[in-house]
């Protein structure tokens, strides 16, 4: 075993380009995926044309809501640059300086103030189907946020008007009395008047008015509360069924490290076994000098050790920028070791099936990349049948189990480390057995 390890390390030392590619390529891929995972989509760069006259407001009773509130809401959701005219906005979109333009027409106030017309804003965009889809989705979200903010202001103004009508005060509207009694005070005033009024038709009429005033005050109070609640009719309350919340940054770290380890260990082990065939040395080795099991164990150990070292170095390096819990390092080491062994076993199975290094490397690469992506597909993103199929594939290959083990070790996520480690070890034994089967007719 030691002689074989020494031989393989010598070969690796003399294959500097291969080793550099083996380490740098997966690390680069892993960091790119990690970076993409840890960043939320950026705000789209949008040109905004506000054609409304400056300072224009929507009148709600005596209250005024500025149109600029809508524009401000829109600006919060996008990277906005103001342009003066629609033509300028169109030119900016055409030249790809901005991804889209939003035109707020001058009649927006009159339409919002009217009872029958719905106000509109115009969105201008360009580009291919993917860009259009992205712009459409992001702008819809930004416009929805702006709409929500604007409608909340209008609802707030309406609620204030109702409050004055209910409790009394100064409405401030043109032609309105300077001071209201307030609808809720009317029944008491009327009761006092009724008490002084002798029975008869006049008293009966007053009693009807008092009854209506009382009913109206109760319902106006209710409508105010309804108006307040429909600003955000449904609030979101989240419940995590299993595990704990893993920050996206630290999950991205775990993904990056797992991908790097997988590529390194699988490619190294697959290439190592295939090299023995390619150099015609395999037949010489297994004719009694080295048992096949020992040969495979050596390749698994070597690739697992290399993956372990790279994984640990990545965690240590990334740990300088992303806060990681170093008190869990014992669990990190267990997860890294078991992940490396399972990936190494997958690699020897591939190497034993392929007859040459290039075929083994290609097969390892073609298998590893989709496995990583499939394991990251979230539930609900695809159809149920497809997701179940993905689940089976992810279960029988070590990427997802390694990801879960490392996530449990680094972030304390569920499923817990022992289960994931046991899964990895079972997969490791299964793939090593497959590798042994592949070497059965080695010569």
């Amino acid at each position: 075993m030691i002689s074989l390890l020494r031989k393989d390390l010598l070969i690796l030392r003399r294959s500097r380009l291969t080793v550099a590619l083996l380490v740098l390529y997966p690390v680069a891929i892993a960091l790119l995926i990690g970076f993409a995972l840890s960043r939320s989509p950026g705000k789209p760069h949008v040109a905004v044309v506000d054609e409304t006259p400056p300072g224009q407001t929507v009148q709600i009773g005596g209250r005024q809501v500025s149109v600029s509130a809508y524009v401000d809401g829109l600006f919060a959701g996008v990277q906005a640059s103001r342009v003066r005219t629609r033509a300028q906005a169109t030119a900016e979109v055409r030249s790809a300086k901005v991804i889209a333009a939003v035109v707020i027409p001058p009649d927006i106030v009159s339409k919002v103030s009217s009872d029958t017309l719905q106000a509109e804003v115009e969105v201008i965009y360009n580009g291919n189907a993917l860009e259009q889809s992205l712009v459409s989705s992001q702008l819809r979200s930004a416009l929805a946020e702006a709409n929500l903010g604007f409608s909340e202001q209008i609802q707030r103004a309406a609620a204030q008007v109702i409050a004055v009508l209910l409790h009394g005060g100064n409405l401030g509207a043109l032609g309105a009395p300077s001071s209201f009694v307030g609808l809720e005070h009317l029944p008491a005033v009327l009761e006092r008047v009724i008490a002084r009024t002798p029975p008869g038709r006049e008293r009966s009429s007053l009693e009807e008015v008092a009854g209506f005033a009382s009913f109206a005050a109760q319902n106006l109070g209710l409508s105010r509360r309804v108006l307040t609640s429909i600003g955000q009719p449904i609030k979101i309350r989240t419940t995590l069924l299993d595990g704990r919340r893993t920050p996206l940054d630290t999950f991205a770290v775990v993904v990056a490290v797992t991908i790097s380890m997988m590529f390194l260990a699988v490619l190294l082990a697959a290439g190592g076994v295939a090299l023995e065939r390619e150099e015609h040395a395999l037949a010489r080795l297994i004719r009694g000098l080295v048992p096949r099991e020992l040969l495979l164990a050596e390749k698994i150990l070597l690739s697992a050790a290399c993956a372990f070292a790279v994984g640990l170095a990545m965690l240590a390096g990334i740990g300088a920028f992303v806060p990681l819990d170093w008190s869990r390092i014992g669990q990190w080491l267990a997860a890294l070791a078991c992940g490396g062994l399972a990936f190494g076993a997958l690699g020897v199975a591939i190497g034993a099936l392929a007859r040459e290094v290039r075929a083994a490397s290609l097969l390892a690469f073609l298998l590893s990349l989709p496995l990583a992506f499939l394991a990251l597909v979230p539930a609900g993103a695809v159809g149920r049948g497809f997701y179940d199929a993905i689940g089976v594939i992810s279960f029988v290959f070590p990427f997802k189990a390694a990801l879960q083990a490392l996530d449990a070790a680094v972030n304390g996520a569920r499923p817990a480390l022992p289960g994931a480690v046991a899964h990895l070890l079972v997969l490791g034994v299964a793939f090593a057995a497959l590798g042994r089967l592949g070497l059965r007719r080695a010569s």
């Binding site: 074989l4 031989k7 070969i11 294959s15 015609h280 040395a281 010489r284 000098l289 010569s443």
Partner: protein, 239 residues
């Protein structure tokens, strides 16, 4: 004298294909035997079974595989290791008592001392074959199986190789080698084993094969061609 190598009723099949059919022979210590035959006759299969690289379907070999030095047809070496590193690796795997001394001895025997530090990838085909044969000898085995050892050597290298092999045989090592060159067998072998479609169709001295072919000449190559043409071996192909 007891046999150094006894092969009894050796057969090997790959599914439906019969590579070896009931092959039996014995070699004495220090005997040098050539295995001849057309492509696909089963020469490589026979030698790889003797070396333990393949399992026979039936039959037996008297010498354990570890006691057979084997130089496969294609050099089984690591091109990213030097000549000395290749030799040392296999010396350690063979559990030779003093691997470094053994490497030095093999380098001297094969005339590769000056190339000891060179990577295999940088050597000519002939020199690689010399290293391939040197590795077969590194455990000082009593039986040596060489599969077309002179295939990629130039005439001078061949002569050197055969001098070396003859020296080993004189020292008591039993050597069995396959070749496509009957002339080589005629010059260097004590015995000729002719395989045809997996059957051992002749076992005897080169002169006896010439006589058996009935050509009346002295050319083993012509005699082999006549012998194979005259034989009634089955014609089903073997790998």
């Amino acid at each position: 004298m007891s046999a150094a190598l006894r092969v009894e009723a050796l057969s090997k099949s790959y599914g439906e294909l019969q590579a070896l059919r009931d092959v039996s022979f014995e070699l004495a210590p220090g005997e040098l035997a050539a295995v001849l035959g057309p492509n696909g006759a089963g020469k490589t299969t026979l030698l790889s079974i003797l070396a333990g690289a393949q399992q026979a379907s039936s039959g037996s070999v008297s010498v354990p595989a570890r006691d057979v030095g084997w130089a496969p047809q294609q050099p089984a070496l690591y091109s990213k290791l030097t000549v000395a590193e290749n030799l040392e690796l296999f010396a350690r795997l063979e559990r030779v008592g003093d691997p470094r001394a053994s490497v030095a001895a093999m380098l001297a025997q094969s005339g590769l001392q000056e190339r000891a530090g060179e990577l295999l990838a940088n050597l000519s085909g002939g020199n690689r074959q010399r290293v391939n044969v040197a590795i077969a000898l590194i455990g000082d085995p009593p039986v040596l199986a060489l599969d077309e050892p002179s295939a990629s050597l130039d005439p001078a290298q061949r002569e050197r190789l055969w001098e070396f092999v003859a020296g080993l045989a004189r020292g008591g090592t039993t050597v069995i080698f396959s070749t496509h060159g009957p002339g080589e067998a005629q010059r260097h072998a004590d015995r000729v084993l002719v395989l045809d479609a997996g059957r051992l169709t002749f076992d005897g001295a080169p002169a006896a094969l010439i006589a058996a072919a009935g050509g009346g000449g002295q050319d083993l190559e012509r005699a082999l061609v006549c012998f194979l043409a005259a034989s009634e071996a089955p014609t089903d192909p073997v790998p």
